[in-house]
């Protein structure tokens, strides 16, 4: 091995985008993840949680909800009010349909993947038919005041549960009517604060599970409109929940960064009576856990701290220790830094701009591990803003440092950089 000069590059101020939502592809080991900057990533569990695909974000389109439908088609919806279908082969948006109800807060596909329901700002729930080559507006369901923050289909596709502020509703898909309206805050005395139902899940036995801003996870019998169980998991909000496919386990993410598992356990040995019990708490995140997903072998959570944590369920695993199977995605998996070796330049890629830096240099040599004094500080040479609302997908700098290239989903740009003493000029090619 030769001698190396190690640069401590502490001037790359990348702010990673937090995880906004997660969607597990049922019966296939794929996970779609949307970040707060609108980027969508797809992970393949079978291939060792490899980040297969990245669709760069778009300034105008944030993604509030993701879902898989009709096989392996991925749909996203956001506050722009549009439903977007992603082209997973071309890594770009393929189609875009306006929802027609203002910003979309939530979206869910039915179990067969033929219909999409969206929850809008204006309080309406709209159904879309998934057709080959796009989606088609089908009908409007009963509209009430208050934005629909979360949606869940009953596994039999006959009803939809929708969570709003202070209230949850159950809608009949056939008639389009609200068949039950439950005030989640009714029994809490003297509380003037509004209670936001952040997340909802409809179980096949008719139980509706909600997590709300009071930190409660509540189990409702929707037909009678009664509260079955209430568990306070946090003093802050419980933001997200996900149910396992067998409906015997629930994961809840809270704004304190902790996630909790609930399990449906028999009260007595051999008896049929079962009860939801809060079992394990996990504290992997430092900020709000906005999205959780439940695969058959793991609890998956993503938070505003931009981490994706895959926490396997030990009892379902056959081997290995706990640490060996716990996975955390803290760093971006793509190359965001490119280096011009000869010119001693670094190109940093941000979502909307590029930065070109000259590395510092020293004239001294020292022993291993010794910190050398710099004779020239690192220098910020250039900031290049990208045009248009699309985010930069990739970028590169030539070894001589005179060419800089970047591309978005639709366009490719090449620039020539000229150094004249202390001044630098950029020419678009």
């Amino acid at each position: 091995m030769g001698e190396f000069e190690v640069h401590r590059v502490r001037f790359f101020a990348l702010v990673p985008a937090g995880v906004r939502c997660l969607a597990c592809l049922p019966r296939a080991a794929r996970l779609a993840l949307a970040r707060t900057d609108g980027a969508v990533e797809v992970y393949n569990f079978a291939a060792n949680y490899f980040q297969e695909k990245v669709i760069p974000g778009h300034e105008a389109r944030s993604v509030e909800a993701l879902c898989w439908a009709a096989g392996e088609r991925l749909f996203g919806a956001g506050l722009s009010g549009e439903i977007i279908e992603y082209d997973l082969a071309g890594l770009r948006m393929s189609r875009c349909v306006d929802g027609g109800g203002g910003p979309i807060w939530s979206m869910a596909a039915n179990s067969s993947g033929t219909q999409l329901a969206i929850g809008c700002e204006d309080g309406s729930v709209k159904l879309f038919q998934v057709v080959p080559g796009g989606i088609q507006f089908e009908r409007n369901l009963d509209r009430r005041k208050g934005r629909i923050l979360c949606l869940s289909w009953h596994p039999s596709d006959t009803h939809i549960a929708a969570g709003s502020i202070d209230v949850l509703r159950v809608l009949d898909v056939c008639s389009g009517q609200t068949v039950k309206r439950i005030m989640v805050n009714y029994h809490v005395q003297k509380v003037k604060r509004e209670c936001i139902v952040w997340s909802i899940a409809f179980l096949s036995n008719g139980t509706v599970v909600t997590s709300d801003s009071f930190g409660r996870v509540q189990f409702w019998d929707w037909e009678r409109g009664t509260l079955q169980e209430s568990h306070t998991v946090s003093t802050s909000a419980a933001l997200s929940l996900a149910v396992s496919e067998k409906e015997d386990s629930i994961i809840v993410g809270t704004s304190s960064g902790a996630t909790y598992q609930f399990q449906l356990l028999p009260v007595k040995m051999g008896s049929l009576e079962k009860r939801w019990v809060r079992t394990k708490p996990f504290q992997h995140h430092t900020h709000d856990v906005r999205a959780v997903a439940h695969s058959s072998t793991a609890l998956i959570s993503g938070g505003l701290d931009a981490q994706l944590v895959i926490r396997p369920l030990m009892e379902k695993m056959q081997k290995k220790g706990y640490d060996a199977v716990l996975r955390k995605f803290t760093f971006p998996h793509r190359r965001l830094v490119s280096c011009a070796r000869k010119a001693r330049l670094l190109l940093f890629q941000f979502s909307q701009h590029l930065e070109l830096w000259r590395l510092g240099s020293t004239e001294e040599t020292g022993k291993d591990g010794q910190v050398l004094p710099l004779c020239r500080m690192p220098e910020h040479l250039l900031q290049l803003k990208s045009k248009g609302p699309e985010h930069i997908y990739c970028s590169c700098v030539s070894p001589c440092g005179s060419w800089v290239a970047y591309s978005t989903a639709s366009r490719f740009h090449l620039y020539q950089v000229q150094y004249e003493g202390n001044s630098i000029s950029v020419k678009k090619v």
Partner: protein
């Protein structure tokens, strides 16, 4: 029937056991060492009787039964030859109780009558006992494994149904191996279907029906949160849920534990230190936990966010138990206190005897007012312990600072206590244990008659530069305040004399305060002890190897005594006829007696004396020596070098403190050998904080049958009732002794009153029921009498004033009242209206012929 004083003592100390010195047959009349309080060492969780009226609690070698209504010790079930390690109600008969002991036997009791029904000899040390409703004729015990040391197993013992009292129970079958010795580490689950046992980091669950054993473990030591060893376990009464407490303060709730792999647990965490015990409520909806924080935590619905606290319980919680109806919960504490807590988590009652404190620095002091033993109690408190009732009279907060439970934190503690002769003044010294600069405070408390408690009068910061080693009041029986002096001896080589001075500050609320009057020293030696002679004229202060005697008026050094080598450990003056002697004990094992008149050594003996205690009411002095792991007692008179009484091998423990407690009435002791016990009783405190005394009574006399213990002897307890009647009686006897003699007799003889006074409060019917009976009993006697006396008087009166106006008659009656104010009957008549008066008179006239017949 012994004399009242003696019988009272027997009843008062029925909480005591009879420990006979080993290897010695006790001849009748010999002195016996009797344990009479302190150090009960609760070996197991307490048990409530089925109706939640009584609490049964293992206490040393006994099982104590307390009444929850009155907190009294009702019964003492004795008979085990070792520490009782388990008490359990018989699940098939709720009036019976099983108890197990280290002596290897299980006893079945009828606890309501205090009768041992059966004794099953198992033959191993029994460390814990569990009785289940589901197992018909067997109980579970923890026994040591015979082959290996320090390993224990849970076995079920078949209790044979044969006739006879003493039975062998040898049919053992092992249920679980390698269990922990603590009774808290095993719990039986819902309806006895499974048993859970914890040890170190392992949890074992054994299912009886399936014969399946599941083992779970938590990961061993984690660096950041300390060790997470299991400390206790409890099972949900209705569901399959096991709660375990851990050394790092966490509580884990295990579920689904019949699957070896898919088990799961959740965690509750509030305690910062070891969880000492756990208990589920009767329905299992809430969980109680306690630990060293002395806070009882109630967890509702197994939720981390719904918990309630009952803080400031005094000391660490050792065991928690629930009553079968869920109305009460009971916590046993490390300082021997028992606390009863309501179901709504409100403090209800506290049953406390001698509180075990960390370290008794104050010594045993007798409060002259209450005759209670006074010593360190809770941290920073002074406890007043009543020897008669085995109860704490009250606890005086001396330090008046919040005690913080934290290891290694130096707390202010009480180190010295002294009472003035009448108990009017109390002096206390508190210090913070600092090596370089001790923080000292001397406080003087005045007994306030109105509030019946001590009130702080003077606080002196840093009375000495270094630790205070001795403190005494000038013990004069006259209550003149100007003769009252306090002397403190310190390690800073001086002794100081404190006197009361008039408070000149007009804003001060009190008229007197204390200040320093004289500082004495001797060759710059550390002062170690001080004491006054009986008449208060001489003060003896020991300075390391030398005893100095000072005149207490002029503060002149009169003479010095020395018995090299060895520093002076204890000094005291002789009393009464022996007041010319000064006794001292030295480090090198000498007991010396100096004559103060000729300043010469009278005699000396080679003894390693730890405790030197003069009897305040007689010439006798008790000395306790410690030699080759046994304590011996010597009682002597200073004028004779030969001891009057020697008891070798008093007990195996080191005796740290002793005190003579004056008897209320001198006991009748015939043997000359024990005359020294006539006026006072001698109490010892061992280093395990066990209180012992010496008794001349034989075992049979002391352990009166339980039925007799319940009935209170005549004129015995100083209750408000007896005080009332006592005073009443005295007054009347002064007024007209002859007249009312019959009357009194009648009161005493009345079965209703007798019953009322002699029935313990907790079994009495309601007052509304008793009241008519009581009144009636009084009325009958009065009517008889009023007929006798009043008619006499009224007859005279009526002769005189028959024709007079009403006003005049009233005046006459007033007169009568003035002349005979204590005459109850006059008062009653005064209150009668005129019409009633006339009627009464008519009746009396009718009765006149009957009266004259007498």
């Amino acid at each position: 029937m012994p004399v009242p004083g003696g019988s009272r003592r027997a009843a008062g100390h029925h909480g005591a056991g009879a420990a006979v010195p080993a290897g010695k047959m006790v001849a009748p009349g010999a002195l016996r060492v009797v344990r009479c309080g302190g150090s009960p060492r609760h070996g197991a969780r307490a048990v409530f009787s089925n109706d939640s009226k009584y609490l049964l609690c293992a206490s040393g070698d006994f099982v104590k039964m307390y009444s929850l209504a009155t907190e009294e010790t009702l019964r003492l079930l004795g008979g085990h030859g070792g520490l009782v390690t388990g008490v359990q109600l018989n699940p098939h008969n709720c009036m019976q109780l099983y108890s197990s002991s280290l002596d290897g036997s299980i006893k079945l009791w009828d606890f309501m009558d205090g009768i041992p029904i059966k004794t099953f000899t198992v033959g191993h040390k029994l460390l814990a006992l569990y009785a289940l409703a589901s197992s018909e004729d067997s109980v579970f015990v923890v026994v040591p494994k015979s082959s290996e040391r320090d390993t224990f197993q849970l076995v079920s013992v078949k209790l044979t149904k044969a006739a006879g009292q003493d039975l062998e129970a040898k049919e053992l079958s092992v249920v679980l191996d390698s269990v922990d010795a603590s009774p808290k580490c095993i719990a039986f689950g819902r309806a006895g279907e499974y048993v859970a046992s914890v040890k170190e980091v392992n949890l074992q669950v054994y299912f009886f029906k399936q014969k399946q054993l599941n083992r779970f473990s938590v990961s061993a030591v984690k660096a950041k949160s300390g060790n997470n060893h299991f400390t206790c376990v409890a099972c949900h009464p209705k569901e399959d849920c096991i709660a375990t407490g851990h050394a790092d303060g966490k509580i884990r709730l295990w579920r689904n534990f019949y699957h070896r792999k898919e088990y799961t647990f959740s965690t509750l965490h509030w305690h910062h230190d070891t969880v000492m015990d756990l208990a589920f409520s009767v329905e299992g909806t809430s969980l109680l936990s306690g630990g060293v924080e002395s806070v009882l935590v109630l967890w509702r619905n197994e939720s981390d966010y719904q918990k309630d606290f009952l803080p400031r319980l005094g000391s660490a919680i050792e065991y928690i138990s629930m009553s079968p109806d869920g109305a009460f919960c009971c916590t046993l504490h490390t300082d021997n206190r028992i606390t009863i807590i309501n179901s709504n988590l409100r403090f209800s009652k506290s049953i406390q005897g001698l509180i075990k404190s960390m370290d008794i620095k104050t010594g045993l002091v007798v409060d002259p007012r209450t005759k209670a033993l006074v010593l360190n109690g809770e941290p920073g408190h002074l406890q007043f312990y009543s020897l008669q009732s085995d109860q704490q009279l009250f606890s005086l907060d001396i330090v008046q600072r919040q005690y913080i439970h934290q290891a290694g934190l130096k707390q202010v503690d009480l180190v010295k206590v002294a009472f003035s002769a009448q108990g009017k003044w109390l002096a206390t010294v508190e210090e913070r244990e600092e090596v370089t600069d001790p923080e000292l405070q001397l406080k003087l408390w005045f007994y306030d008659e109105e509030t019946q408690s001590f009130k702080l009068n003077t606080r002196i910061n840093t009375p000495h530069e270094d630790h205070i080693t001795g403190m005494c009041f000038r013990d004069m029986d006259e209550s003149e305040d100007d003769s009252l002096l306090l002397v403190t001896a310190g390690r800073d080589c001086v002794f100081k004399v404190w006197v009361m001075v008039e408070d000149t500050d007009p804003e001060a609320q009190q008229s007197v305060s204390w200040s320093c009057d004289f500082v004495g020293s001797y060759h710059n030696y550390q002062a170690t002890n001080c004491c006054f002679s009986e008449d208060g004229s001489l003060l003896a202060v020991s300075f390391e190897e030398t005893v100095t005697v000072w005149d207490s008026v002029t503060w002149d050094l009169k003479c010095t005594f020395c018995h090299p080598p060895g520093k002076i450990r204890n000094i005291c003056f002789g009393r009464l006829t022996c007041s010319k002697y000064l006794i001292g004990a030295t480090d090198y094992g000498f007991l010396c007696c100096w004559n103060l008149l000729n300043c010469a050594l009278e005699w000396s003996a080679h003894l390693n004396i730890l405790v030197l205690q003069p009897d305040p009411l007689s010439e006798y002095i008790a000395a306790v020596s410690w030699l080759s792991k046994e304590s011996s007692l010597f009682v002597f008179k200073p004028n004779e070098p030969r001891p009057i009484y020697i008891q070798r091998n008093l007990c195996k423990e080191k005796i740290q403190l002793a005190a003579f407690v004056p008897r209320d009435e001198p006991e009748m002791i015939s043997a000359e050998k024990y005359l020294w016990l006539r006026r006072s009783q001698l109490f010892f405190l061992t280093d395990t904080q066990e209180l012992m005394t010496l008794s001349t009574k034989s075992l049979e006399e002391r352990l009166t049958p339980a039925s007799k213990q319940l009935a209170v002897e005549e004129g015995l307890l100083v209750t408000p009732f007896s005080l009332l009647f006592g005073r009443h009686r005295r007054q009347q006897s002064q007024e007209d002794l002859g007249k009312l003699a019959v009357h009194n007799k009648h009161w005493q003889d009345s079965p209703a009153v007798k019953e009322l006074l002699h029935t313990p409060a907790h079994v009495l019917p309601s007052a509304s029921f008793l009241c008519p009976i009581f009144i009636n009993s009084l009325l009958i006697s009065k009517e008889n009498k009023s007929a006798e006396e009043v008619s006499d008087e009224v007859e005279m009166e009526s002769e005189n004033t028959e024709d007079d106006s009403d006003e005049e008659r009233d005046a006459a009656e007033m007169e009568q009242e003035d002349t005979n104010p204590m005459e109850l009957l006059g008062e009653t008549i005064c209150k009668l209206s005129k019409s009633q008066d006339k009627e009464l008179r008519k009746i009396r006239k009718m009765d006149y012929s009957w009266i004259s017949a007498f």
